[in-house]
């Protein structure tokens, strides 16, 4: 089948920042994203699990498939939001079906 080159960006970020991140992504021209729940994790700021939390705490994973040429705008936008926050950003090469969607 016909596939098209794209990038898969995965941003793991604190839940209270989710809305701000997706707003920034939309402003940067991102056409779509998907949000996955996160159960727990570990990093420089220590270990956490959803079970040790109350309220809107915890993290989420935002996955974003984009055309390679839009990457820089996206990373710039994401970075502005996550800069002062805990969390990680990773980028993978991928192929997508139905390129007209991106």
């Amino acid at each position: 089948m016909q596939t098209h080159k794209a990038k898969r960006v995965e941003i793991i970020i604190e839940a209270p920042m989710e809305g701000r991140l997706t707003d920034a992504l939309k402003k940067a021209g991102v056409t779509g994203f998907t949000i996955l729940p996160v159960l727990g994790g570990s990093g420089r700021s220590g270990h956490w699990t959803r079970e040790g939390q109350v309220g809107r705490a915890g993290m989420v994973a935002v996955i974003c498939l984009i055309r390679p040429d839009r990457m820089d705008a996206l990373l710039q936008a994401a970075f502005t939001v996550v800069e002062r926050h805990i969390g990680v950003v990773s980028i993978t090469d991928c192929e997508v079906l139905r390129a007209e969607r991106f």
Binding site: E51, Q53, H85
Partner: protein
């Protein structure tokens, strides 16, 4: 004195506090016992709804008067003022940075609704009536402390760590879930009054204490897990602050309650509100507004030290003091 001890003993041996202790024990012993997040949230929705509704019905019953307004204003003043006291104490008792100290101070100006709910249930079990509008006071005290804390940061923190406050965040804080639910159900209780109460009484009154037991079990688990994760994060000074500050807060609350002329029950609840520290609304706001502040510090203090302190020793002490001072 005798009385305080009996009271504290009774309180410590109530099913609620023992459930909290069980949760704490299970978490510290690393049992995998957990209350699912969704269930815990559902329990808290139930508690907020029930407490708000009952408050509204009580106000509808007794009529609204100026004392409601003055109590609201009194609560807001406390919420604005207590962070300054907390900040000064923290800077004196610990080596926390200005940012961490200010973020923590915000928690102590704000309130813990579960502590409040537990106090109402202690009052109910001893047949002490309180002003129904204290629920509205609780809601009003959630947010003002945040403003004081941000002002403290802008004055004391190194440049580059300024707060990220914007209109969006204000909307989030003022319309956070627990404020909306508490105030909303208060209004619903006020509008529907005793008729409404009659329709849902067997849902929100009779099972209330049992639901509170399970909820406190979960709070114990969460507090215990927080404590385990935060070993070594809190200095002795910080832990001391977590137990001194509620007493200082309660004293301020007592003074305010006397000025307002509240009933014994109202005095206890005002003391409890002032003594308690937020661990839901304020932490979420701090993550956005002050990302550099270390969440382990304020969460552990508020949830791991002050919350258990109030639950076990604080509330019975506040009841005893209020009874002694009002001669009831």
């Amino acid at each position: 004195m005798q009385d305080i001890l009996t009271l504290a003993g009774e309180n410590l041996l109530s099913p609620m506090i023992l459930c909290f202790a069980l949760g704490l024990f299970a978490a510290l012993a690393r049992s995998e016992l957990t209350v699912p997040e969704a269930a815990a949230k559902a329990l808290s929705i139930y508690l907020l709804f029930a407490i708000g509704f009952k408050g509204g019905v009580a106000v509808a019953d007794h009529g609204v008067d100026a004392s409601l307004i003055s109590a609201l204003i009194g609560g807001i003043i406390l919420s604005f003022g207590l962070p300054f006291v907390a900040f000064a104490l923290l800077r004196g008792m610990t080596r926390l940075s200005a940012t961490d100290a200010a973020a923590t101070a915000a928690h102590y100006g704000s309130i813990s609704i579960v502590t409040f709910v537990t106090a109402t249930s202690v009052l109910a079990s001893r047949g002490i009536v309180a002003e129904g509008y204290m629920v509205a006071v609780a809601a009003a005290m959630e947010a003002p402390a945040i403003i004081s804390a941000l002002w403290l940061v802008s004055r004391n923190a190194p440049t580059g760590q300024g707060s990220r406050m914007d209109a969006e965040l204000w909307r989030e804080i003022l319309l956070n879930g627990s404020i909306v639910l508490l105030v909303g159900s208060f209004v619903i209780g006020f509008i529907t009054g005793n008729d409404g109460m009659a329709r849902i009484e067997s849902f929100i009154v009779s099972p209330f204490q049992g639901v509170l037991c399970l909820f406190l079990l979960d709070m114990g688990l969460v507090a215990g897990r927080g404590l385990r994760g935060a070993r070594g994060i809190l200095s002795m000074g910080a832990v001391a602050f977590g137990m001194v500050m509620p007493l200082v807060g309660a004293a301020c609350g007592l003074a305010m309650a006397m000025v307002l002329g509240l009933s014994v029950g109202g005095v206890v609840l005002m003391m409890t509100l002032a003594a308690s520290a937020s661990y839901i609304a304020v932490p979420a706001a701090m993550r956005v507004a002050l990302p550099e502040a270390n969440p382990s510090v304020y969460l552990t203090l508020s949830l791991g030290v002050t919350f258990p302190f109030n639950l076990t020793l604080g509330i019975p002490a506040y009841v005893a003091v209020a009874q002694a001072l009002t001669g009831a």
